[in-house]
Subunit: 347 residues, 2 copies
């Protein structure tokens, strides 16, 4: 039985194993988990979502109230902004993610827009701040040192048709590590926007400056800072698995996924070995509007020794995976082309 | 039984496995092998070394003639110039070496200087060109397309006390894959200078411009080209092995090697995790004047999850391993700091 690969046990941070990523939709038990603090335990009977701030009328919504509103479903490839941090040089501090902090799941819940319509945000509302129930100390926080996980979403993204307050994941009631009872799902955005254990929504008229908005999840570069928002175009190879010995004298069908938060996947190219010779892979239908696109490529006949494969995706917005990611101090958004190494043997 | 890790089977290119690199001197059977062409088969009885060019008197030396000259011994850490090519982005063409194209061996043979003294190179001799018996086609060679592996050594390096024509390796007669019957050993230089199957030495008064001098083994950068010569300062972690699960709640003693072709190892620093916090490792006595220096470092108590370790060597010439190696088109001299990832579990 494959299990998640633990990156940190407390608080829990764990990657999806490759076996799980070979499926179009990742099994719930193997979906990657990223937490900043201990997982809050919230009984559904006690749960309340406070919707407040720059609104006509504040509301408090019980779990059952959300459950009885119209439900919508969306299949999303979600990636941690720190995925592939281990590929950045010099290695930034932060969880040392390899390539498994990405997964795909089908989420079901209430449109955030429907909830906002109930409270009628003021016309000058700029963002919706979602607060999780998770909190804890952070040495570099302004006093007080305990901070809550809170993230602001621009009002347009909050009002988007497919931004959900999810109650279910892959057809089952949400699990604690995935944000039970209720989490935000923001298709196309890196994981940090998908606030878990969300207990408060607050419309604000000024840009939010909380710890996780300004001290974390920013591309801190030599030239300044930019917010981490949508998922950058990326691809991964999931078959063959790198621990499998390939057979010399045969061709090999390489399979993988590609995704982007900026548009659809326009093309994927594959390189066999080093150098600059790229070949177009074949694309199949995406797993969902916001989920990854499967691709495949057949190699030439394999020679015994070491085989290196690289894949490179391009999205319809015109972005292509770079050879080297822009280094940033906190290590986010590494979508660089990554060589995978395979062993080829004569049988 | 550990075996060499084959990178290419024909011609043979293979790395030393980690188990073999945990010993101060690498076992002969597991010393890395880099070849450009099929391994020549040369009977010792038929062997002759032609020493010619800008010399007072050309000579041809039989194997036995070399064997009866004074023998010297030197222990050398030898590294392929392409070692860690897989860590360069974008990945250059060429053998996709990981970190095992480095090994340490004790070589025994004749001083190249003693042979040169027999033929008396002219005062204006600039270089000594060593030709191997290995040859084959190269598409990008000037016509004719068949090229011989030949490398020039500056006369001063050729005359150095410890530059040998080696007949033995680790106390045994040289094996075919390591250059039998006779190979050049040039302590402190990358592998390509250590010409195998050497059958001719030629003193020249103009800079040599052969294929392997000008079309290969050059740092081809955006700004121009530089020759690949001495080994850049580097370190590697050999214990714990990355496939071993470490025990949470205990400290861990990290061990490794550091080497440089530009001087002695002055210091090694270790970082536990990402970021910029480095701690001095303890150095022990080098394995030989031209062999790697052992170092060790004790981590703090390990937490369950993923542990990342990095080591960074500095030599007495003042060179330190960089965070990112200077990219070059042929992929040589990657001595950048390399993060190693370990799994830590509660028992």
């Amino acid at each position: 039985m494959p299990t998640r690969q633990v990156v940190k046990i407390n608080p829990l941070n764990a990657e999806s194993p490759l076996e799980a990523l070979q499926a179009p939709v990742t099994s719930t038990a193997l979906h990657y988990v990223r937490t900043n603090f201990p997982i809050p335990s919230i009984a559904r009977a006690q749960y309340a979502l406070s919707v407040t701030g720059a609104v006509a009328e504040s509301r408090s919504l019980a779990y059952d109230a959300l459950r009885h509103m119209p439900q919508h479903e969306v299949t999303v490839t979600m990636e941690c902004a720190g995925n592939d941090r281990l590929g950045l040089y010099p290695l930034p501090a932060g969880e040392p993610w390899r390539s498994g902090a990405v997964s795909t799941a089908t989420w079901r819940g209430v449109r955030l827009r429907d909830v906002l319509d109930m409270v009628q945000p003021h016309d000058d509302a700029l963002e919706v701040v979602a607060s999780g129930a998770d909190r804890g100390p952070r040495e570099d926080a302004d006093s007080p040192h305990d901070v809550t996980f809170e993230r602001a979403l621009p009002i347009a993204a909050a009002r988007h048709d497919d931004t959900l307050l999810a109650l279910e994941m892959n057809g089952e009631t949400l699990l604690p590590e995935h944000g039970a009872p209720v989490r935000l799902v923001v298709p196309g955005w890196y994981g940090m926007a998908n606030v878990k254990w969300v207990t408060q929504l607050r419309a604000v008229t000024e840009p939010f400056t909380g710890y996780f908005q300004r001290k974390r999840y920013v591309y801190r570069e030599h030239t300044g800072e930019r917010a981490v928002t949508r998922t950058l175009v990326k691809s991964m190879i999931v078959s063959p698995a790198t621990d499998v010995t390939l057979k010399a004298g045969a061709r090999c069908v390489v399979k993988g996924w590609a995704w982007s938060g900026h548009g659809d996947v326009a093309r994927v190219d594959v390189a066999v070995g080093g150098g600059d010779e790229w070949h177009a892979a074949e694309l199949d239908k995406p797993v969902g509007e916001y989920a990854w696109t499967p691709w495949s490529f057949e190699t030439p006949t394999l020679q015994p020794g070491r085989l290196v494969l690289r894949s490179r995706a391009t999205d319809t917005a015109g972005f292509t995976q770079p050879d080297v990611a822009e280094w940033n101090a906190l290590g986010y958004g590494n979508n660089a082309v990554r060589p995978l190494v395979f062993n080829v043997q004569l049988t």
